[in-house]
Amino acid sequence: MSTLKAGKLVDTKVTQKIFTGLHKGNISPIWAIVVHQTGAPTAKHTFNSYKSSSHGAHFLIDKKGKIYQTALLTKLTHHVGKIKSRCIQTKVCTAGELATANSIYFKKGKSYSVRLTNLYKHEKKKAYPARYPLNKDSIGIEIVGDYDKAKKVYERVNNAQNKALKWLVGELGFHFVMDKHDVYRHPEVSYKKPSEARTAAW
């Protein structure tokens, strides 16, 4: 069983490789995990990008299933993007709330981008789980996986990666009191390619 020390998940299965540039402030109580794929062929590509990018997640699982912690669990990172309306996606909400969200989502005369931004601002005011997780209350896990520009899909998550993901999700769920319903594929919560993390299993 792993332990948590000063934002680090301490276990022999986890290699610490913290990029402080990913830290964007203190994280709120953690409610959820969002699973991503990197869109790059190797962990090295993503580590190189983390040296200058403002976007990244807390953990990275390489092609062999090795787990790296890349940001402290006391810090939020930018990994989610604009969240979708959970009310619109699931219809589990009041009729009034659905009407309000739809009025923003389908607003005539506004660009798609503006409508998504306005809906995101509306959603942010809600508490989890009435909305999808935000950067401020979720842990991001990146799985190394390239994006095939010709086929327009992410590559499959391999068995070693899924084994590592399952272990990591279990440990984080234990430490932050989350269950499987609090673990999301990135395209479920925000507007991303449907194939991203589609083959991830936990």
Partner: protein
């Protein structure tokens, strides 16, 4: 029929040098024969019902776009099910492209693929009605 009109327009997609994180290496793409052939959505979705572009609007999108990497597409841009698809030539090679309502475009040529993004296309990427 504007949709079926083939016309030739040459223009450059200039890669912005102002945002190093956004752009891949400096390069320019020369488009010609830009033709819209289809529009729709990847899923049954009323949200996309009125997303259409004319040939001229597709040209405007490409003119204002810059090349991005897969990572930047993932990190910074919204991917929406609404698309307009079409054809063009780039460097005399026939290419198929799709423009997404979230502001990105993926282009497949015979041996090369490109991803573009437009940050100032709100006037193009909205309901056509």
């Amino acid at each position: 029929m504007v949709k079926n009109t083939i016309f030739t327009l040459f223009f450059l997609v200039l890669i912005s040098c102002g945002k190093s994180e956004d752009s891949s290496k400096a390069e320019s793409l020369v488009f010609s024969d830009v033709v819209v052939v289809d529009s729709g959505a990847n899923e049954e979705n009323a949200f996309c019902k009125n997303f259409k572009l004319t040939n001229e609007q597709a040209v405007s999108f490409f003119k204002r776009s810059h090349l991005i990497s897969t990572k930047i597409m993932h990190d910074k841009y919204d991917y929406l099910p609404c698309y307009v698809k079409g054809t063009s030539k780039i460097k005399d090679k026939k290419c198929n492209w799709e423009i997404r309502a979230g502001g990105t475009s993926e282009i497949s040529c015979s041996d090369t693929n490109y991803i573009l993004a437009c940050d100032k296309c709100d006037d193009l990427l909205k309901d056509s009605q």
